[in-house]
Assembly symmetry: C2
């Protein structure tokens, strides 16, 4: 299960009720933050999330609408008395920028801050624990940019409650079965795992792709994901602007979703020039049916 909360999904300049990019991902006991536009800490408070639980922050690129709220959040963690380590993943330069501002404020964090600077143009695994992996999705933008792919691990086989009926199983038998082992009953009888369990749920996958020009290279990396957030800064009527600024249109996002055979597509990173967002759905749904609009503080479950 992956729970996604959109904290902000608008591009360029933050306005009242139009917050710039940031997302919260609750998965396998982690609370991850992706991107951190100015004002993200206020959105975190509004979302009612226990944001002190965030231990890993993934920054796609160093444009202000994805990054200028990070120093404030780091500073607020300090003021709230945080002692837990914080890991920041982002383009080379992110460490220098944050540490310079902490130095000028003479306000070093009283918790440890670890920077994981990214520079590869190939997808790489950047985080892994027992329940989830996070890898990069290299994107095509005006500056070095990565999307992020979250993949849950499915470790536990599921007990077939009908098949175990009548067997005298101890607690440790259940553990062994979930872990894929065959079991030995107290009378010495051996039973193969497959006879008593079902396969685990398939892994769940969430892909965040913002900001990027239309880029078919990402298709194999996001093949079949359960949910794809793909930027749609523009409509096709402004495809020239999209090309010039290395952003995508709603139609281009849908093309990527279709080619990658993803299950659901969520559009966001809208340009401020559009008041009515219905046209984004109309344009994308011409070629991809399961398309949804991101909204600030909207949640999606996978």
């Amino acid at each position: 299960m992956i729970e996604l909360t959109i904290l902000g999904c608008h591009s360029a300049t933050p306005r009242e009720n139009k917050h710039t990019s940031s997302q919260l991902i609750e998965v396998a006991g982690n609370l991850f933050l992706i991107d951190c536009g100015e004002g993200t800490q206020m959105q975190l408070r509004k979302s009612k999330a226990k944001f002190s639980r965030i231990k890993h922050i993934f920054i796609s690129h160093l444009h202000g609408d994805h990054f200028y709220g990070l120093i404030g959040l780091i500073s607020t963690f300090r003021l709230l008395g945080r002692t837990t380590d914080l890991h920041i993943y982002g383009p080379v330069g992110i460490k220098e920028s944050i540490t310079l501002q902490l130095k000028l404020a003479n306000s070093w964090t009283n918790y440890s801050l670890y920077f994981h600077e990214l520079s590869s143009t190939e997808s790489e695994l950047i985080y892994e624990d027992e329940g989830v992996t996070v890898s990069t999705i290299p994107l095509d933008h005006r500056v070095y940019t990565n999307g992020f792919l979250f993949t849950t691990k499915s470790k536990m086989r599921k007990i077939n409650t009908q098949a175990i009926e009548g067997l005298e199983l101890e607690h440790f038998h259940f553990k062994q079965l979930q872990q894929g082992q065959s079991i030995e009953l107290s009378k010495g009888e051996l039973i193969e795992n497959e006879k008593l369990t079902f396969s685990p749920d398939p892994p769940k996958q969430y892909a965040y792709c913002s900001d990027t020009a239309y880029n078919e290279k990402i298709i194999p990396l996001i093949k079949g994901v359960d949910l794809l957030y793909h930027e749609a800064t523009f409509l096709e009527s402004h495809s020239d602007l999209a090309a010039k600024t290395k952003h995508s249109t709603a139609l281009q996002a849908a093309k990527i979703a279709q080619a990658a055979q993803v299950k659901k597509l969520v559009l966001g990173h809208y340009s401020n020039r559009y008041d009515d967002k219905a046209a984004f759905i109309d344009e994308a749904s011409r070629i991809f049916e399961m398309v949804f609009l991101a909204e600030d503080l909207k949640t999606f479950s996978i």
Copy 2:
């Protein structure tokens, strides 16, 4: 006339409806910004000010709640197509911090950005035009900090409408009178300026003092100002915290106001620990009567 708009008056961490330090000053045709906490650009939009008119920004110190919104505002000016020069006044290091972030975003401004880095511990004149001067008020805080004193110039004498009755005055005569010159009528008659005019309005003064410990050294610099904004992060019940963090209590702010014989005192920069602000007025008004509370988006006229 000086028009002051409080954009944010809370300390430390920005929250919904509790914005960190920033103020707009409309004076002598200028729109000045003092300090720029995270989210200031959203507050500027809410205030309905034509904030593209801001040409000079004064930053007291490089703590986040006074500074972390500046890079976002600079970036927004770029996105809005600004071409007018922008002047930034603040502690040494402000240029490096802002330019590093612009470099990392590969987003240089298409307008000229001038940094005026401050390092003096004596008051200095940092801005002057025909209508106003701005000078620093060195403060006592954990990092190098300046308050700012705005003083209007009173150049124009005021026409005595009763005295000029019956005289045949041309447009240029009015200008001469306002500028303090005596005039010659068309018949050759000379009239002394003082007979037809009153003295100009006295200059108006606004002093911004945040953040600072109780500091009697500022008293001669702010003597008799029309309005003093003095930080009151704490109440006397937390005077130990005030001393430790180099902030002031409401009572200390009032003592400064009293000693400097200012006309009005406005308190702000409240710690988030206080929900009810009435106690700030109660405490300060024990020794200084004309005391007011800053509130986000409240305005004061001088």
